[in-house]
Amino acid sequence: MTTETVLFLTQQTLVLAVPLLLAGLGELIVERSGSVNIGIEGMMLAGALAGWAAAVACGSAWAGAAAATAVGVMLSALFALVVIAFRADQIVAGTAVNLLAVGLTGLVGARLQEAGFDRRPPVFFERVGLPLLDRLPGVGPGLFGEGGVFHQHGLLYVTVLGLVGCHLYLYHTRWGIELRALGENPAAAEAAGAQVNIRRTWAVLFGGACAGLAGAYLSIMYTHRFHDNMTAGRGFLALALVIFGRWRPLGLLTAGLVFGAFYAAANQMHVAGWSVTLARHWVDVAPYLLSLLLLALLARRASAPAALGQPYERPHD
């Protein structure tokens, strides 16, 4: 492999890790607060459609990002209503959200196509280099300057900062410690003064926003258009990544980069001619096989938040 290939693969790894990391970041907060939202797959899908449509309509990627976030929040509000207010089962409700999103995006997508929405969004998020670092002598311009490996979409840096911020929040602030308490022992958190169900609702809404944004990144930045079921299980992989990262933000970052690299390698194999052989079908499912394998090896050692998936009923006083 030449240096160029290595640099290209690194660059692609970062590009492909963003949606996984972003959705994973949201889900990590959701799960730390004690809920499981498998509906993030559907929220990503809805975000992908809304983001792409808004970006085409307004001619601005940021409008797309805003629309996708809003759609993610709306779907997660529906999810929160059912699982937190009515204490319904979270797995079933999440599945329902996924079905709803597939159906809605199919309906709305067809309607948009009829209205002539079949274009690439005219504007993308701009790529930004890292200031100061690109002036490093020697490697600076090559890595961090125009066209370099780390000359990436702003959303990558937002995501990485978000993960670092999430780490500081969870382990070094009072609110973060309280959030973890919601997922470990909600009754104790409530006794200590935190309103469990309200805080859990906020967490679910945050998770939905992240998933919507992740979807918009896929449709605006990666495929440049929307097609049915385009998330192809990335939301579910984000759920697995949270487990690989042992419910820790920095662990999630590592796991996300590994999977980003995996996707980049798979794409490279397609480019290198695998796409005409039968093996391409195995390359396509390799991320799922890899996560099953990793889950089989690692899931035993990871300890989930103790109250994960259990609805909380406030005691009557």
Partner: protein, 356 residues
């Protein structure tokens, strides 16, 4: 008396949820600039406007009932099997392999081929489900995630098969050869999808009902579903019950795939994963996990599907069949809300008050 009241309340809750789900799409259709009422009327006309479409709906309910049973059995013991889709696909693949390669038997009755096909389909589903069950019990891989990931693997396996080992003589299309005529299920009404497998699905519902509600194994299953900790203290091997339930669940989903091949499509094509497995979750939930209710719910949702396809074909309406998927999503959420403890308690009080 109480029993009758509970049953009628459950029925009322389910009907309320169904009406909510149907009504919820009307404003959405208006937003899209579509005639909401006309679409709903066309939806109704699908299964009820034409005898052939009605029979098609019955045929379509066969995989829905079987997948619904599959999900109901698993959910009864809190094994969150979201993988009926993958198990269905695996059943369909094995059934096709048998149907294509095993011609009519040299000796003995012709239905032996069909019998082997059915067994192979069930086995395919069992294998796919057992992988996830064993991973959950012995490696603590959450069943939800394991089964979802295995769905994607199954889809990959399917496309590998129809482009590779199982592809028919016409190499330009991703399809298998047709299965041999002796491996096919009898079509009951010519020109429709209504085939003998429907009766088999109803029979399966009866068998599952008996197993779950009238045997000691079924009691263990419901005990684990009710409270796994209490079940363990009562001496029930929770892991073993989970594995058994998943095996049965996988077998039912695999059967669904096999019967669809033997009764409707007669071959395997790349789109064979039509989402029946995911729809099974809606069916099971609508039936409140009761095996006999699954038959009713399966027929109801099959009619919704046929209605939505009729809407799609009525091109001037400009509404694709995804309508049915959206309705099912809302339907599950509505069932969850209407059957939640908070709403049930209130409804119970209301019903009791009326009688007092």
């Amino acid at each position: 008396m109480t029993n009758l009241r509970t049953t009628s309340l459950t029925l009322a809750q389910t009907l309320a949820a169904m009406s909510c789900a149907l009504l919820a799409v009307i404003p959405l259709l208006w937003l899209m600039g579509r005639p909401g009422w006309t679409v709903v009327a066309t939806l109704w006309e699908g299964p009820f406007g034409d005898r052939y479409r009605f029979c098609d709906a019955l045929g379509r309910s066969c995989p829905l009932i079987l997948c619904g049973l599959s999900v109901a059995v698993a959910f009864r013991c809190r094994a969150w099997n979201i993988g009926a889709e993958g198990q269905y696909v695996c059943g369909a693949i094995l059934a096709t392999a048998v149907g294509v390669h095993c011609g009519p038997p040299q000796a003995g009755p012709a239905w032996i081929t069909l019998g082997v096909l059915i067994v192979a389909a069930a086995l395919g589903g069992v294998v796919w489900a057992l992988v996830c069950a064993l991973l959950e019990v012995y490696r603590r891989v959450p069943l939800v995630l394991g089964t979802i990931l295995m769905n994607f693997v199954a889809t990959g396996l399917l496309s590998y098969m129809v482009y590779g080992p199982l592809q028919g003589a016409d190499r330009s299309i991703p399809e298998s050869e047709s299965i041999s005529p002796s491996a096919r299920l009898l079509t009951l009404v010519d020109g429709t999808d209504f085939h003998l497998g429907w009766y088999a699905a109803v029979l399966a519902a009866g068998v599952v009902w008996f197993l779950v509600h009238h045997t000691s194994a079924g009691f263990a299953l419901r005990a684990v579903g009710g409270n796994p900790v209490a079940a363990r203290f009562a001496g029930i091997n929770v892991g073993r019950v989970t594995i058994a339930a998943m095996a049965l669940s996988g077998a039912l989903a695999g059967l669904a795939g096999g019967m669809q091949v033997a009764g409707v499509s007669y071959l395997l094509h790349v789109q064979a994963a039509e989402g029946f497995g995911y729809m099974g979750i809606a069916v099971a939930l609508l039936a409140r996990l009761h095996p006999l209710g699954v038959v009713l719910a399966g027929v109801a949702l099959a009619m919704l599907d046929v209605g939505a396809m009729h809407v799609e074909r009525t091109t001037m309406l400009g509404v694709p069949a995804d309508l049915a998927t959206a309705v099912k999503g809302v339907l599950i959420l509505a069932v969850l809300v209407f059957s939640s403890a908070a709403v049930s308690r209130r409804l119970n009080r209301l019903a009791a008050g009326e009688r007092a």
